[in-house]
Symmetry: C2
Amino acid sequence: MKLSCINISVDDSLFIKNPETTDLGKKIVENGISLMVELGYEAFTFKKLGEAIGSNESSIYRYFESKHSLLLYFVNWYWSWIEYRLVLQTHALQDKQEKLKIAIKILTEKVTEDKQISFVDEAKLYKIIMCEATKAYYIKEVDQENKKGYYRAYKRVVQRVSDMVLEINPEFKFPHMLISTIIEGSHNQYYFSEHLPSLTDVNNKNTNVVEFYTTLVQKVIS
Amino acid sequence: MKLSCINISVDDSLFIKNPETTDLGKKIVENGISLMVELGYEAFTFKKLGEAIGSNESSIYRYFESKHSLLLYFVNWYWSWIEYRLVLQTHALQDKQEKLKIAIKILTEKVTEDKQISFVDEAKLYKIIMCEATKAYYIKEVDQENKKGYYRAYKRVVQRVSDMVLEINPEFKFPHMLISTIIEGSHNQYYFSEHLPSLTDVNNKNTNVVEFYTTLVQKVIS
DNA sequence: TATTTTTTGATAGTATTACTTTTAATTTTG
DNA sequence: CAAAATTAAAAGTAATACTATCAAAAAATA
């Protein structure tokens, strides 16, 4: 599935100047993803990114307020992309069970190849989601940022899949809890499998995370 | 349950000088917990902690290498305490189901009062676990730190409860995955209920997190 | 009690981070 | 081609995350 024509849009409030509109902006996002994967969020700086793209620190600040904003941009891009895939792959389906099953697969599977949507490498982006995404909202400023709508894309995805759960079982009391549990859970499991294997049972091929959370949801909502 | 006689021991490698052995050390831990809750991990510094306890930054560095080490100390203290409670409250029980149920309660319930084990306020400590604990292992240095045994206490708890699952259903393939999912899940749910309520269904009294994860485990392993 | 050792406090210093500001050069657009 | 916008370079600031030194205070021990 290569669709270089479609565009994932990220909310205006997340950047000072839209990086999609210029070459430098695209470079910042593209190389920003690579460098953040390589160095990790803590060691990543705009100065280093500037050096990596042969540009200046101060130029990057004209696009993003801080590295935290850049992370928020990545996270929102990711969730917008997931939402797009969710709609595309489930919209036409009649069978509610099948619909939910596909949604769970999209939410819990590891992204291992670049799907080439615009200038973003989705496989690398997934690593940021897996390793760094929670740092975007486990912060003291979370309430203010939430008010500004910085987590909207994530919340929209949880709502969408929660609704699929309720379509199957309208009596079920904890759909959001269930869906956020499997999303965060799957990220943890892939991370644990790479770094803290005794906290998981994931095999080398990562094939059982999707399986585990799919049966989990089925059993829990029935 | 107040047992000021018992002592939670934290592995030697996690500090330079054992804070339990001196007044200053205890002050560092006690006020360190309060200040980290108050400011959040990112804004917390040893300089500020020094001011708070009327002591010097450099003196704190004689106990802990960095604020990251201090966080690791807190996290390990917490998991050692959980392990202690786990053993204490399940050891005498015969009924395997009952045993697991109590373990899940211990793992997923919010700690809201100071149980007064030594000089640590467990309710405040829980807030650190809920908001900051993942920052102790979602870092680039995770593999080296794991080799040094810095996450041992957490892994021991997961192993212990996974074993309880296997006692009930020896055929179950994903016990570690299940237990780490409910541990991390419950922390997320309490955090979401306070800051991102649309990601959860937790009510004001937080009563349904334990309920949700207890039924979840029961359904998944049967 | 005297003395040795350990612990702590105060001060200063370094390298890096996370920015902001200014100015000049370059590029884009009308 | 001129005006406007964008970018690069350099310098500056305040804070962080430490390290090092040295003297004072406290504790241990002989």
